[in-house]
């Protein structure tokens, strides 16, 4: 089941004449990645520099900036996220990549849409939350590492908040745009449009996007079967100014993907559908000196149906539908006095996760076999978050804490009885107390910015980790059983960051270290027999005494001229447990170098990216050595004036040398896309 693809390492040769030519011709292009604030709406505030968040800009109210800043504007959200310093993606196919932050997967993160908690409905993580939104919905993605993400939830690795695009009462009147894109490698077609109205008292943004792609081809021409996908997404965002300082906002997203292939897995997805909605109230003056009061009520429901009917050879046919519904709220407010800036937030959510598995025996006279893989687990979480940013004479100190109560309840008797096969004394309900505390300090010496922090936090096990029943993991070929008796996973983290922003050069060095206790991971139980045909055994989720993870990255940015800009970064990651065993999904050394040019109506970029050999891999968890690779991509963009409106054209090529490669996070070593030519057209109507 593991690796169906032979691996031929082939790295791009920098001395290739085409590259030299390309470099001469190519213009530089503004970095897609903004290390500071998102462009557009937020005013620069000295206190904001303490916010150790990375912001990935997706769009901006100024379309021209948006188009110039992204090499491939209509690429999937996954590709945007992958360009981030801290986010890496676990890829099981061409679609729906699973984000990891600080080499930690979604159980250790909080992934939110505009602060709304949302959880996938697939036991095999085929539907990370990033797959239920599209670039058309978002303005930017805020990435907060470690306990800096505690505002959103109890996390270990951090928080990724995808923020929705809103006109926000800018007096733009009616605006519209139509976009279309095409990529050669998987004949991917993208069509989208938006229609917005905004004035000082009211705004309504609507957008729609449709994507369809066939199987993609890896470097060397090998087609990757079952890698097709088709999806569409519509969203609407509205705001009404009730009074000068009171606003009522609403948002709605509908996202549906059909016929999505996952070449790295034994099953595909026939349907993945999400309804996401929220209602918020924003008020500048609250009670007394409290200000910026924001309250939000939200609900989202996800249906996810796995299906193996497209696969010709399966040991047994199965249907695996899953559902995840979340209802939640939050209310936050700020208070400034003296040199303190307080923020307080209460939040809560209720989630219901249910997943089934029905297997059809080859003997038609036999009855079907049925199992509950997620036994209708209800999670109720309420929390309080407090933060204080203190402007000291020689720096800024940020203190934050979160306290939450979370209860799990296995609502279905069938599901409870299933788990009681392993845990006869298991309670139907359990509660946990979750906490977080962090301190972060930022100081500026002359031109140097130094910041560092220490934090402690814990998290509860996820539904799969606590209550999963025979969840098959095709990466390490084992069935996994949840463990309701797991202790909360805890981490002590330290972080240090040094940046030197000079006139034309910016240097940065950052290190993150996590010392975790009771790290949750599956360990083989030799007494248990596998259930999935062909599996090697069964693992039960347990707490590892200790695990250490750290990453160090260095990045540089140099402005040759106002138009020509170069950015580069290199990072090193490591993760081991108390026995010195390597943890899985820890990135090898990776690097990225981008030269961008933007002048007038013209923009362009050259990007070189890659990774070194993965030597610190984890065979116990199904990993093997992934060889080094390097990729080169180019893009060119131009804006034209057409009928009084603007037409933006972008074209380029990714993986210019058609390198056959696979990364450490590609499930079962599936190869990534080979050479891909793309073109996007965007016509903005004002």
């Amino acid at each position: 089941m593991k690796s169906n693809y032979s691996f031929r390492a082939k790295s791009a040769c920098i001395k290739h004449p085409l590259v030299v030519l390309g470099l001469c011709l190519m213009s530089i292009f503004q970095s897609k990645l903004q290390a500071q604030e998102p462009i557009g709406f937020q005013t620069l505030d000295s206190i904001l520099t303490i916010d150790l968040k990375e912001v990935i800009v997706i769009s901006s109210f100024k379309r021209s900036i948006e188009h110039k800043s992204q090499p491939n504007p209509l690429s999937t959200l996954d590709e945007y996220l992958e360009s981030s310093k801290k986010i890496s993606m676990v890829k099981r196919g061409a679609y729906a990549w699973d984000p990891m932050l600080n080499d930690m997967t979604s159980e250790r993160l909080s992934i939110t849409i505009d602060g709304m908690r949302i959880f996938g409905a697939c036991t095999d993580k085929m539907d990370p939350i990033t797959s239920y939104v599209d670039v058309s919905n978002l303005s930017d993605v805020q990435v907060k590492s470690g306990q800096q993400g505690a505002q959103h939830g109890n996390v270990i690795g951090g928080a990724i908040d995808m923020r929705l695009e809103k006109s926000n009462f800018k007096p733009l009147g009616w605006t519209a745009a139509v976009e279309t894109g095409y990529e050669t490698n998987n004949t991917s077609q993208i069509v989208g449009g938006e229609l917005n109205y905004s004035d000082e008292n009211f705004y309504l943004d609507n957008d729609i996007i449709y994507r369809k792609a066939e199987n993609y081809t890896a470097g060397g021409g090998e087609e990757v079967a079952f890698s097709q996908y088709e999806k569409y997404n519509l969203s609407a965002n509205a705001g009404y100014k009730v009074s000068d300082d009171q606003k009522l906002l609403a948002s709605f997203i509908f996202d549906e993907a059909r016929d999505v292939g996952y070449p790295a897995l034994p099953m595909d997805v026939s349907l993945a559908r999400a309804f996401i909605g929220s209602l918020s109230w924003v008020q500048s003056n609250f009670i007394g000196n409290l200000e910026n009061w924001e309250s939000k009520l939200y609900a989202n429901t996800i249906t996810h149906i796995m299906d193996d009917s497209q696969r010709p050879d399966v040991p047994i046919r199965m249907d695996m539908p899953g559902w995840s519904d979340t209802y939640g709220f939050y209310s936050q407010t700020e208070l400034s006095f003296d040199n303190h800036r307080f923020m307080g937030k209460i939040d809560g959510f209720y989630n219901r996760s249910l997943a089934e598995m029905t297997m059809y025996p080859n003997n038609p006279n036999e009855q079907e076999m049925f199992m509950l893989t997620w036994p209708d687990v209800r999670t109720l979480n309420t929390g309080l978050y407090l933060e204080d940013k203190i402007n000291l004479s020689d720096g800024i100190l940020k203190l934050a804490t979160r306290l939450a109560y979370q209860s799990f309840h296995v609502a279905d008797d069938f599901g409870l009885n299933s788990l009681r096969i392993f845990y006869p004394d298991m309670d139907q309900r359990q509660t946990r107390t979750l906490k977080s505390v962090s301190a972060h300090y930022h100081k500026q010496f002359k031109k140097w910015h130094v910041s560092g922090g220490v934090a402690y936090g814990d998290r509860a096990p996820s539904v799969s980790e606590g209550f999963g029943f025979y969840l098959f993991n095709s990466f390490d070929n084992h069935d996994y059983i949840g463990n309701p008796n797991l202790k909360n996973e805890k981490a002590l983290e330290t972080q240090i960051k040094v940046t030197l922003p000079l006139d034309n050069l910016e240097l940065g060095l950052e290190g993150n270290y996590f010392h975790t206790w009771d790290y949750i991971i599956g360990e083989i139980d030799p007494a248990l027999n596998e259930m999935t045909i062909g599996a090697d055994g069964v693992k039960i989720y347990t707490n590892l005494k200790q695990a250490n993870l750290y990453n160090v990255s260095m990045d540089m940015e140099y402005k040759f001229t106002p138009e020509l800009n170069w950015s580069g970064r290199v990072s090193y990651h490591r993760g081991t447990d108390h026995n010195g065993r390597n943890l899985p999904f820890i990135s090898p050394v990776d690097y990225r170098s981008q030269l961008s040019y933007a002048h007038g109506s013209f923009s362009g970029s050259v990007t070189l990216s890659g990774a070194m050999d993965q030597t610190n891999f984890s065979p116990t968890f199904g990993e093997d050595r992934t060889p080094a690779y390097t990729l080169l991509s180019l893009s060119l963009g131009k804006t034209f004036s057409l009928g009084g409106n603007t037409l933006y054209v972008k074209a380029g090529v990714e993986n210019l040398f058609d390198t056959y490669y696979s990364t450490y996070s590609d499930w079962n070593n599936i190869p990534r896309m080979g050479r891909n030519f793309f073109m996007t057209l965007s016509y903005a109507i004002n």
């Binding site: 040991p315 047994i316 598995m357 297997m359 025996p361 080859n362 003997n363 036999e366 009855q367 079907e368 076999m369 049925f370 199992m371 509950l372 069938f414 009885n417 299933s418 009681r420 096969i421 392993f422 006869p424 029943f469 025979y470 007494a527 248990l528 027999n529 596998e530 259930m531 045909i533 062909g534």
Partner: protein, 284 residues
Amino acid sequence: MKTIKSLIILIALSAGITSCSDNNENPMPVTENPLEAYNLTSSFEANGHMLELYSEKEGLTTGYNELYLQIKDLSTGEYIPNATITWNPVMHMTEMSHSCPKSEISVTEEKTVYKGFVVFQMASNANEYWELNLEYSFGGTTYTISETIEVNAPTDGKKTVNVFMGADDARYVLAMMPLTPEVAINDLSAVLFKMESMMSFPIVEDYTITIDPRMPGMGNHSSPNNEDLIYDATAGNYAGKLSLTMTGYWKINLQLLNANDEILKGESVTEENESSSLYFEIEF
């Protein structure tokens, strides 16, 4: 065809019995039937009484049958309490006759209801039939009755009884007690008897029955945390735990071990050996 013939006979018999009932001027007082919820598998009229045989199942089947009896006094229409009943089911085969494992009949909390169990090793057919011989006494008088009963294979076609010769050259009957299977750790019980003679089937004590439930339709995978069946002296049967991780068809592979832990029947399930010769089947 045989079934229809037997059914016609049974209907005719029942019709005959009911038509011969009392025809008093005054309608009989309607006595409440405590076994309303159960299925009346057979009723026999004799000696001025109606003997009713009830089961949870539709009819009498091979394997374990938990049965309830009531004796109705046809003159009064009342059910007779606290009678002493003994029974002896006998199979009349072409070459010989034999009985089967059975329990004593005891009176339940409801004094007019009596219960016991019978394990039929085989079903009736065209040439061979089961006959139920009952002896009951109350109020100082003993009565007897002998009637043919119909025993069929279970409607779901699943094997719940094993009749075999052990490695010790003794004949045994092993039957699964009724089970409502659930995805959970289920309480599983079975009864084990030795055939000492054609008519005598005493309970076997202190043996062990190992269980290894498998799903042949799904790679023959098993389940965790099963507990072998061990003898429970108070109940007179073997009890253990059956772990079922999903619905569907399961084959519960068994091995019979005597008091010295020697295997008398059944093989372990391995890569080469898909199932034991001794097994029960369930499907849910």
